[in-house]
């Protein structure tokens, strides 16, 4: 299974109700110590305010494993995210505000709450890039989608 298979797949609730599509896949990268404490360790950029250029937030971490945390499910399809709705970036007005409005209702489900990934009967079976269909487990949690 690839991340690309999951993206844009339809998501159903435990009762079969359509909840939306997978708009992104959330991962947790294990951050490891730099052997020599190299540049861009991240901490020195924390003081950059919310209105600082995005590049000031750019981090470069030495990483270890990458764990699959969950899926971001959006009710209105992927569209173009630009990431605004998952950060607290406010400018340039009004683009973040409009993108956020379009993606209201996007939530995070933990991968543990995904009950099955199966072939989508609604998809054209002859299509090579047919997306699977995801069903969530009963009692799944809708977590906030923000990246924090």
């Amino acid at each position: 299974m690839n991340v690309g298979d999951l993206l844009d797949a339809r998501v159903l609730g435990p009762d079969g109700a359509a909840l939306g599509v997978v708009v992104d896949v959330r991962l947790a990268l294990e951050v490891v110590d730099e052997p020599e404490g190299g540049p861009g360790a991240g901490e020195d950029r924390e003081e950059a305010g919310h209105d600082a250029p995005l590049s000031a937030h750019a981090r470069r971490d030495a990483v270890g494993g990458a764990r699959l945390v969950g899926l971001l499910v959006g009710p209105r399809g992927a569209g173009s995210f630009h990431g605004y709705e998952r950060t607290d970036v406010r400018s340039p007005w009004p683009i973040p505000q409009l993108v956020r409005r379009r993606h209201r209702g996007t939530f995070l489900v933990r991968w543990e709450d995904v009950a099955s990934v199966e072939a989508d009967p609604a998809a054209d079976p002859s299509a090579d890039d047919a997306k699977p269909r995801l069903r969530l487990a009963p009692g799944y949690d809708e977590l906030p989608a923000g990246l924090g």
Binding site: M1, R60, A66, R67, L68, V114
Partner: protein, 128 residues
């Protein structure tokens, strides 16, 4: 932050897919086209079970972007996630590209075609 200090939370589409992959020398290898998931102990990823990124898939996806369809996974060159050193605006590897299967086309062209052109073995960036 929603994570503790030892983890960095990223979204695949936002932070990884399409990013440039650089080898240990800073040479571009390709772009992240897809990420392969795997379960524990090398098993396949399953819904609801613990899963992690096993490999970066880089490869000739331009044709499928233009014409649709998809390249079978077996034809997409893989770079093991273990070879990833840093993730920033680019994905930086800890191995030189000569050791990667992902750039075999480039290596083949260099050794079989370019090297046969007179002067083709000269490295203009090499120190005299």
């Amino acid at each position: 932050m929603t994570s503790d200090a030892r983890e960095r939370i990223v979204d695949a589409r936002l932070h990884l897919l399409g990013r440039q992959v650089l080898d240990a020398d800073g040479e571009p290898v390709g772009a992240v086209d897809d990420l392969a998931l795997a379960g524990p102990e090398g098993a396949g990823a399953e819904a609801g079970r613990e899963a992690h990124i096993d490999a970066i898939l880089v490869g000739p996806v331009l044709a499928t972007r233009l014409f649709g369809g998809r390249v079978p996974d077996s034809r997409l060159p893989r770079i093991a996630w273990d070879d990833v050193g840093h993730v920033g605006t680019a994905v930086e590897l800890t191995v030189p590209s000569d050791r990667l299967d992902a750039v075999w086309v480039e290596r083949w062209v260099r050794d079989r075609l370019i090297a046969r052109i007179p002067g083709g073995r000269h490295d203009p960036e090499a120190e005299e």
